[in-house]
Amino acid sequence: MAHMLEERGLPTTVLALVLPQVEKTRPPRALMLPFMLGRPLGEPNDSDFQRRVLLQALRLLERTDGPVILEHFPDDNPSQFDRPGWEASVTLPEPGTYADADAWESAFRDEMELVIPAWERFEARFGRTTVGLSGQSLQDWPEFAASVLRGELPTVAAHDTTALAVRFMCDDIKAMYGEAAQADGPAPSAGQIDRWFWRQTVAGQLLIALRTKAMESPNNALKTVGGRFFVPVPYLPAA
């Protein structure tokens, strides 16, 4: 896109997170960043740090030694690394095993009741939530998930297919739990939140169960979306 916009007469500068891609595409100006995918500006709620990143990228526009300029940002962002002693802002009982869809529904609903107050603290603290893609009330998630586990194909008005409805419900579940986990205290690393969610919550286990069920489905869209867009590979159960 940078190349295309520059060809059309617009000066561009790219915040880059993957060096091989920058080296192959050779945009006019790029600032190579040492941050993880998902964090091009590095550190949340750190305006000084983000300004440093943005300013270095924008100042590339003042260089005259193009047509391909690549600089590197020198500093890691602080919350890239695990925070010693971090614990999620909500204490949950260890997940169990659940014999059927009704058991999953009950366990998930019970766990959500514990998570919601922390999630509300997050909203109050940061003035925002990224929950909002599912098109459903969060109180409907347990029943919807149970329906999928039974092999049904429930739908919601906001999405064209069951596959999309489940995908965005999963996104919202991960968002709510991620926000609840970091409601209090300084920012943990992304890895700390992920390990807590996928290994210590009913919700994480539920999404893995939904993926398994989706991949057995005769509905090709659900099978494809479930296999690729519910659970990141590092957190899949061992084969």
Binding site: M1, E6, M36, L58, G132, F168
Partner: protein, 153 residues
């Protein structure tokens, strides 16, 4: 320095080996000092405003984000689940630095902030993005934008 090696597989191999276009030209457009420039953002995070339909998978469309939009009601609808979202949960500026630009304009580091910014779905085939590139370029020129920051996710 990151850190391909920090990205877990299979994402690491996927991002390192994704087919990338090889361009024959090397355009390079000059402009005024940064303090005089009008700056816009193009985000590949498939951003939407709360209540809007998420980007379809593989979509080459672009969508506008008005400078006046409530940043706390901007959500990521990108299809990939293999990037961190914990940072953006706390602060939209981690992926869409709209507030940072506004403050930089107030402080005189840049000239001004564009009225309209744009967002696309990253990982879409570049061949499918030509129409969006035309549209975005025309829109930015109409708004006298002379600096574009491209932010990935």
């Amino acid at each position: 320095m990151a850190r391909l090696e920090d990205i877990p597989e299979p994402t690491r191999t996927a991002v390192a080996t994704i087919p990338c276009p090889a361009f024959e030209t090397t355009p390079f457009v000059a402009g005024p000092p940064l303090s005089k420039r009008r700056v816009a953002i193009v985000s590949s995070a498939a951003l939407i405003e709360r209540g809007d339909t998420p980007f379809p998978f593989g979509s080459g469309e672009c969508r506008a984000l008005q400078r006046s939009a409530n940043a706390d009601d901007i959500l990521i609808s990108h299809v990939s689940i293999n990037f961190d979202r914990a940072g953006y949960q706390r602060d939209i500026n981690v992926v869409y630095p709209i507030d940072r630009l506004k403050h930089m304009a107030i402080d005189g580091l840049i000239g001004s902030v564009a009225n309209t910014h744009y967002t696309i779905m990253g990982s879409t085939d570049p061949a499918a993005m030509v129409e969006s590139a035309d549209f975005i370029a025309a829109a930015f020129k109409a708004d006298h934008v002379d600096a574009v920051v491209l932010a990935p996710v």
